[in-house]
Symmetry: C2
Subunit: 337 residues, 2 copies
DNA sequence: TTGTATGCGTTATCAC
DNA sequence: GTGATAACGCATACAA
């Protein structure tokens, strides 16, 4: 259990080099006021002893960890790892390190993770959890640790946010579809605990249908390719006539499950079945037929979030909120011209 | 910059509750020897003041962070996020937090990350970096921070390892292919900086071909779906006759690029072109034709790594090394019966 | 049961 | 230029 016991400390370096620990500290931090001679002497013994300063003690003394807390749902979706990858890239470049806190689509867990983030003493945090509401952001704000919330519009003194414009774009797609003669009934494929982005999209989906006076369906599916595929194959085979429709799915793999099910059930895509993926990734382009999708470059979102956070930490953040437009890419899974 | 300045300390709680800070500390850590009355009093003021203990100070005092350093290549491949997800799950369950260090397929960077891990004062580390060699593991070992290395067989006093049996299984596949009448020439699709796992596979690929006295090809491709797809489409269209072959690709998306290119160039899969993916994920089952692949459940690998690490930290690790078998799943992208 | 004193490994403010 | 010394926020052995 004494795994860190044999750690070389600054004091041992000082003793071995025959100087005071203050001098060693100066050498480490590249501060002036130290003779080249003694500097070399100290640096030599540092190398000899294999000394590495304790980030812990440094952080305690300076009140600065170079540590960013990242709260994300544990599910390993491609778009989340893209986000993480973007955050990570900028963080590394700017000298920060990421501490990961994963939640499982539950508001309570997200809140408890936020508390954990506080005790972990991070310089800032990036939160991507769909379950968080306004009052939760207020809680975060009250801790006064700089935070960027992704997928929300709420801001605060120490809280900035990035949100997505999925709803409007989805509405446009649907309006255009009917206007250009689309005649299939649309089905929104709902996922349990999909988060507020999905809820928002579903809300918009229903709204625009009511506005247009069109019929629509909402169906549930499991958040797994395999299950969804099996369920739809069964449904499609049981009643091919009823299968005909335009399906709006949350993610690529779910959308792919539906189009694969259709194809394997002998239905034509997009002839009989059209499919739209809301959160498209590079896989929208890999599966066949290629998936029409709404796309947001989550890696870019991650980079932006990290940059905003750094500004927020330095009290330099001008625009506290930032909007990412989802843009529609029509591919082969829907009709188009 | 004084973002943490207004943090409530244990001392303020003690003062507000009219007790000594030692008592507060006892309450926090649920130690006995404290009257229910004072306990309640302290807990009340903790809640009132919104006190959260500083993990930093705790770690410094106890010489224990509950922090695991994870070194992975920054590339956001699905199999890596699966690994991370597995690690994360067990870590959370066991009360550890993950600090992420990303590298970019360079040995130097991996080594510098290891140094960073040391200063970050983690309780243990999990390293998944294909570029690390034996001497590097020795370096890790010298810091005596418990470490699990994934993708390597080397161990040390404080170093355990998990390795994969890709090579043998790949050789079996190739031998079986020829034995059962497979007549296509095989091409190993090489990726620059693909890491030692890829190198190992390539080595085995060549070895078994020499053993069998068969011709083979090795070609380079870019580590990106889009580029690889474009390159292969061009090549396939230019010379469809030469295109005929069995291609061994590193990952699903690369393999998918090849089979999509073949299909789109008017070639039949697996009639004219057969494709095998070395590191299969769930996407092997989603793309069409489905991809024959070697599979290892990276999430399971992650879980196991974390469990081994915990044992290592507690000096309880019996088997310092562990082997994961890659198993072959024949799907529609290769001939089979 | 509770309080006091010391140490964890640094940085930073002083004197010298 | 260099060396004592006090923080940083907490845990803990020891004393009361």
């Amino acid at each position: 259990m004494n795994n860190l016991k044999d750690r070389v400390t600054i004091y041992q370096v000082a003793q071995a080099a025959g100087v005071s620990l203050a001098t060693v500290s100066r050498v480490i931090n590249n501060q002036g006021n130290v003779t080249p001679a003694t500097r070399q002497k100290v640096e030599a013994t540092i190398k000899k002893l294999g000394y590495k300063p304790s980030g812990l003690a440094q952080a305690l003394a300076t009140n600065k960890t170079t540590n960013i807390g990242v709260i994300i749902p544990s599910a390993n979706y491609v778009y989340i790892s893209n986000l993480l990858s973007g955050i990570s890239e900028v963080a590394k470049q700017k000298g920060f390190v990421l501490t990961l806190f994963t939640t499982s689509h539950s508001r309570e867990e997200a809140l408890s993770m936020i508390e954990k983030v506080i005790t972990t003493h991070v310089d800032g945090a990036i939160v991507f959890d769909d379950e968080l509401g306004a009052e939760d952001i207020a809680t975060i704000n009250s801790y006064s640790v700089p935070t960027i919330v992704i997928g929300n519009t709420i801001t605060g003194d120490k809280v900035g946010s990035i949100h997505f414009s999925y709803g409007d774009e989805l509405k446009n797609i649907i309006r255009t579809y009917y206007k250009e003669g689309g005649d299939k009934e649309m089905t929104f494929v709902h996922v349990h605990d999909g988060g507020r982005l999905l809820t928002h999209c579903e809300h918009c989906f229903i709204e625009v249908h009511k506005e247009l006076g069109k019929e629509y369906r909402v169906t549930n599916c499991d958040d797994s390719y395999t299950h969804t595929y099996a369920d739809f194959v069964e449904a499609f085979k049981k009643d091919p006539a009823a299968a005909r429709g335009y399906y709006v799915a949350y993610r690529d793999s779910l959308a792919a499950a539906i189009e694969n099910a259709a194809t394997d059930a002998g239905l034509a895509v997009p002839g009989d079945v059209e499919v739209l993926s809301l959160v498209g990734t590079k896989y929208a382009n890999i599966v066949r037929p290629t998936l029409s999708s709404l796309q947001i470059d989550m890696s870019e979102v991650g980079k932006r979030a990290m940059l905003m956070l750094i500004d927020l930490i330095n009290n330099n953040l001008e625009e506290k909120t930032c909007r990412f437009e989802a843009h529609y890419v029509a591919r082969a899974s829907t009709r188009g011209e």
